[in-house]
Subunit: 262 residues, 2 copies
């Protein structure tokens, strides 16, 4: 069996290669999660703040499901891992599992960076309408679970910018220090932007959407066939990366570097 | 965009074609969930009954996470859907969402069939050791979430046997009634077994494991490449279907048919 690619930095050495490997692997998770969400139609009532029936919550149904599931996962220690950032960090219960010493790789100030409000808004107001069919099939609980899967995959990928920034900084601190000291966001953004690399990432995620979202069939003789349909339109995944995932990851990197010398 | 295949029978007509379509689509979900679980090593402590630190629970860590997450999803109405069967049905909180009239397609006795104990044991004792790498990376919460994803996907597929049995029965009730009346399990099993169809399913899920579990790369010129590695070994997915998913689905069908004339 292929040795699985570790998705987490705990107990392992973080390098440019391992960061890149994790980012590539996380693309698969994001594409899978979008394909799974696309099984369900919009199911608009779960996003309507006036229709929630969870007692004690004022937000939408999906917000209640995300908050309550995050509480279960917080008790299970999910947010002890510096790769994970909750959408609703206030009032989360403490972890019940014995503390694990995650490798202290990030600068401590990195822990304060959480742009999940932006991830949430992007996902629900911009991305979701692009790739789900209109309609209401009543599968509200499963739909909300699928949304949480997409949100967590996108959030992890975007906040992985902290690790990207740290490896880049350690690789060439003198390149970044002047811009950090002068708090020059534009200069930092320029240092972190490699158009040719971003173009390849966009092509690769579109290719993944084609590969993972195709309908795979086999005939009685074992020959495989496909009908050219995709469960999520590949250019939408390219656009997701170009317009939101890569810019937001760079925003996390800039925020991280600005705190790197604190 | 391709119209997503509805995964649920609510508000739609159940036919032999729609059942088949759902079974095929659920294969993708199962393969995705196994690939996601394979990101993490075994993480054995989460399965150890002596190490759980959730107060008030006597089972393993993963059992606590599954129980608590099922409670959240029960409040969100997940188990109102006749396709969904909880692993821990005792003491689940009631649904807080307004009751939805799912199409009354199944015989009411179908609701009492829940073989998740077998699904749980198969998954943890037989399947999991086949496709995850040994080791402990400390990602316990994320690993338990991944396990839940696999369990729910497998459970839904296996219990979908209720729908398979109902469409088959409606299509040719006289074929099944003698064996039902004489409670002849073997005769029912024979009526439900089509070796050539099962062979195609096995080939197709192996092909899906190859397609969805490959490493997709593109060069700077947009050409895609792959290295021939798979994240989950395709023959293991074939074996999962041959040894467990298809036999357990047929067990659900037999149990359902035995109650069909009650």
């Amino acid at each position: 069996m292929t040795t699985p690619v570790a998705s987490c930095v705990s107990d392992s050495v973080v390098t440019l290669d391992s960061v890149r490997e994790s980012l590539v692997r996380q693309e698969d998770t994001i594409v899978f999660s979008l394909i799974e969400r696309a099984k369900f139609p919009t199911n608009a009532p779960i996003y309507d703040h006036s229709l929630n029936s969870f007692p004690g919550f004022s937000g939408s149904f999906v917000e209640s499901v995300v908050r309550e599931t995050e509480a279960v996962q917080a008790k299970a220690g999910r947010y002890e891992n510096p790769e994970e950032n909750p959408f609703f960090p206030d009032n989360l219960p403490p972890s019940l599992v014995p503390h694990r010493n995650y490798t202290q790789f990030l600068h401590p100030a990195g822990a304060s960076i959480n742009i999940n409000k932006k991830v949430w808004d992007m996902y629900f107001t911009q991305l979701l309408p692009l790739f789900v069919a209109p309609g209401d099939d009543g599968n509200y609980a499963a739909t909300a679970s699928s949304d949480l899967g997409c949100l967590q995959a996108l959030s992890r990928r975007i906040h992985y910018g902290k690790f990207v920034a740290e490896v880049k900084y350690r690789d060439a601190p003198h390149d970044y220090e002047p811009a950090i000291r002068s708090k020059d966001r534009d200069a930092l953004m320029n240092l972190l932007t490699f158009k040719s690399v971003e173009d390849i990432v966009k092509m690769r995620v579109e290719k993944k959407a084609m590969t993972f979202g195709q309908e795979v069939n086999v005939n009685a003789n074992g020959t495989s066939t496909t009908n050219g349909n995709y469960k999520v339109d590949p250019p939408i995944v390219g656009r997701l990366y170009e317009e939101w995932v890569m810019p937001l990851t760079k925003l996390v990197q800039v925020e991280y570097l600005l705190r790197r010398l604190d």
